[in-house]
């Protein structure tokens, strides 16, 4: 356990002062109750967060959300903002899965009304949505078409009849990052991304069919179109090999130029460059292209989910997009009059009702915040608050957060055992590899109820609804 001077500022917030390490430029703040704080100190999360606090141009404080855990470079669940004129941008501060994120669809149909149709429905979803690229992927794009995805994001898919204009209104940034720059993307990234649009990937990526189990805030739920008993679909995936290669390319590029910019980092994976430099701008543009790829990836999957639902359920199978939110991204944002580059790695935006980027239809309640739990446990829908803007640069947690290594999870429970437990709960599971089920078992994650309770009590977001899985598709 790391010995560090920490002060508890409230029952859900701990601060480590700037004086804790000679190279820190700002304090570190960790949203956690006593139980989560103990868990967070169990690995290198705090060391990694303090490393981030040393980077040039960092402003205010660096933050760890209650689901935070050890990553590489930045901790997962980390938030840091850098001055746009004097500060840096770091590819490792976004991560390899650029714009990994979550989207929620709400159904017209009640979950219980699926009855015997649930199992074939989940089976068809697993057939329609591949985990990865085979020889000949699900959606082949020409160079020109791929360029349009990189520049236009989901807007391009409206033209391809895979998205509706209404979908655009409820996607972060309307599904299009305007500063995306395909010319800063390598040929290799294009090669890795080609054929992967519409694939969900491996690891912790999944698709879930759910039931709205409980409404906690009726007014907000009504605004989001959610009601108790309703069927919902949650999709968790990102920019696939395209984003992985963009990050790989720019970690190396930043690594080569740091000395020229007189930047020294305590961990080489924090490689970064001034945001205003050629390299900083090139990464920002390439990252934007990868983000558009990810928005489009989740949209193509949505299109296929809708196709399966209407094919199998007819008119009852209509699905409406509630929201799509990124949790690995760097954004240029105005905070108290300053233009900042806010890095969220394993953290989502949580903008309140008065923020101009909150979708018009949600202005009364705030931007939806989607927090998937671990496989087989509950997920939560929250809404952002205006207070989060001053508390955490408008940021919130992104999930339950791992607490156990993959190896430990496999030693704890065999994959077939995890499958049996889920099926006994009435959850239909489609996952090719039992090993992956073991790695993603609920016991490997923190208690999502506790994580959500902390962000609610901290005022970062308000809890709206609890969703429970009835079907899981894993890559």
């Amino acid at each position: 356990m790391t010995a560090i001077p920490a002060t508890r500022l409230s029952p859900v917030l701990v601060e480590i002062p700037r004086s804790a390490r000679a190279d820190m430029r700002v304090p570190a703040r960790i949203y956690a109750d006593e139980t989560l704080w103990e868990a967070i100190q169990g690995d290198r999360t705090v060391d990694q967060l303090l490393n981030v606090a040393t980077l040039p141009g960092v402003t205010g404080a660096v933050y760890a959300m209650p689901d935070a855990h050890e990553g590489y470079g930045f901790p997962v669940g980390g938030v840091a903002a850098f001055d746009a004129e004097t500060g840096i941008i770091s590819p490792g501060g976004v991560g390899y899965d650029i714009n990994c994120g979550v989207r929620l669809l709400r159904g017209d149909i009640e979950a219980d009304a699926l009855g015997a149709r649930l199992e074939p429905l989940v089976h068809e979803l697993s057939r329609a949505i591949p985990s990865g690229m085979g020889r000949g992927g699900p959606l082949q794009l020409s160079d020109a078409e791929l360029d349009r995805v990189l520049v236009e994001g989901v807007e391009y898919l409206v033209e391809r009849a895979m998205a509706t204009p209404e979908d655009l209104e409820t996607i972060e940034a309307n599904g299009r990052i305007p500063w995306a720059s395909p010319r800063d993307v390598s040929t290799r990234a294009r090669e890795r991304g080609r054929g992967q649009l519409g694939t969900i990937g491996s690891g912790n990526h999944f698709l879930e069919v759910q039931r709205v189990a409980r409404i906690i805030d009726q007014d907000a739920a009504t605004a989001l179109g959610l009601r108790e008993g309703q069927c919902t679909v949650l999709i968790h995936t990102g920019s696939r090999g395209f984003g992985h290669q963009v990050c790989t390319d720019f970690v190396r590029r930043m690594d080569r130029v740091m000395a020229r910019h007189h930047i020294h980092v305590p961990d080489r994976e924090l490689a970064c460059g001034p945001f205003a430099s050629d390299e900083g701008q090139a990464y920002f543009g390439a990252m934007g292209a990868a983000a558009n790829f990810a928005f489009a990836n989740r949209q193509v999957i949505t299109h296929r989910v809708r196709d399966v639902f209407t094919r199998m359920l007819g008119a009852e199978g209509m699905l409406t997009l509630v929201y799509d939110v990124a949790h690995n991204m760097a954004k240029a944002e105005l905070h108290e009059g300053r233009r900042l580059i806010v890095h969220r790695k394993g953290a989502t935006r949580a903008f309140g009702p008065s923020h101009p980027e909150t979708p018009a239809r949600y202005r009364a309640v705030g931007q939806p915040v989607l927090i998937p739990g671990s496989m087989g446990t509950a997920s939560y829908v929250l809404v952002g608050t205006d207070a989060a803007l001053t508390e955490s640069f408008g940021s919130c947690c992104h999930g339950a957060g791992r607490r156990m290594s993959r190896g430990a999870a496999k030693r704890l429970q065999a994959g077939h055992e995890v499958r049996r437990v889920l099926e006994e709960k009435g959850i239909v599971v489609r996952c090719a590899r039992s090993q992956e089920l073991a790695e993603e078992a609920p016991e490997a994650y923190k208690d999502v109820e506790r994580v959500v309770d902390v962000v609610h009590r901290a005022g970062l977001a308000r809890t709206v609804a609890r969703l429970e899985p009835i079907g899981v598709v894993k890559g």
């Binding site: 470079g73 890795r192 970690v251």
Partner: protein, 139 residues
């Protein structure tokens, strides 16, 4: 002093995969890295007996970067060629350059469990009887 045996071992990491590599010389270390990556990818993608080899050459500013770039080159080949590395041979390794042949097999679905090899905490270190390194894969 006897040379250490080449080996790899998965270590604990909360969310990613941390792999410790040990080998009697740099050539064997890079070979062991390819084998460790291949085993990890095979656990996800399965495999076939359909062999495919790739000649790989990487130049990097230093030894740590060379190991990361070597692994990321193999990941790129794996994902774009639907292929898994199994072994490497005739590796020539200096502190800034690696060249050799990587033996592997074709797979039906491109492996995507490992997103990248990272620099986090990585140091290729001379130890008694050889070299040791720990590398964290983003998964």
């Amino acid at each position: 002093m006897s040379p250490i045996a080449a080996s790899h071992q998965i270590l604990e990491h909360t969310s990613e995969l941390r792999v410790r590599l040990r080998a009697p010389d740099l050539g064997a270390l890079f070979r062991e890295a390819a084998r460790a990556l291949g085993e990890t990818l095979a656990a996800e993608a399965g495999g076939t007996e359909d062999p495919e080899d790739h000649d790989v050459e990487i130049v990097a500013p230093d030894l740590d970067a060379l190991l990361v770039d070597w692994l990321n080159e193999l990941l790129y080949l794996a994902e774009t060629r639907c292929w898994i590395p199994r072994d490497a041979e005739a590796l020539e390794v200096s502190h800034t350059r690696v060249r050799g042949r990587v033996r592997g097999t074709r797979v039906p679905i491109a492996p995507s469990l490992v997103k990248a090899a990272t620099h986090h905490g990585l140091h290729v270190t001379p130890v008694r009887g050889g070299y040791e390194a720990e590398v964290v894969f983003d998964v």
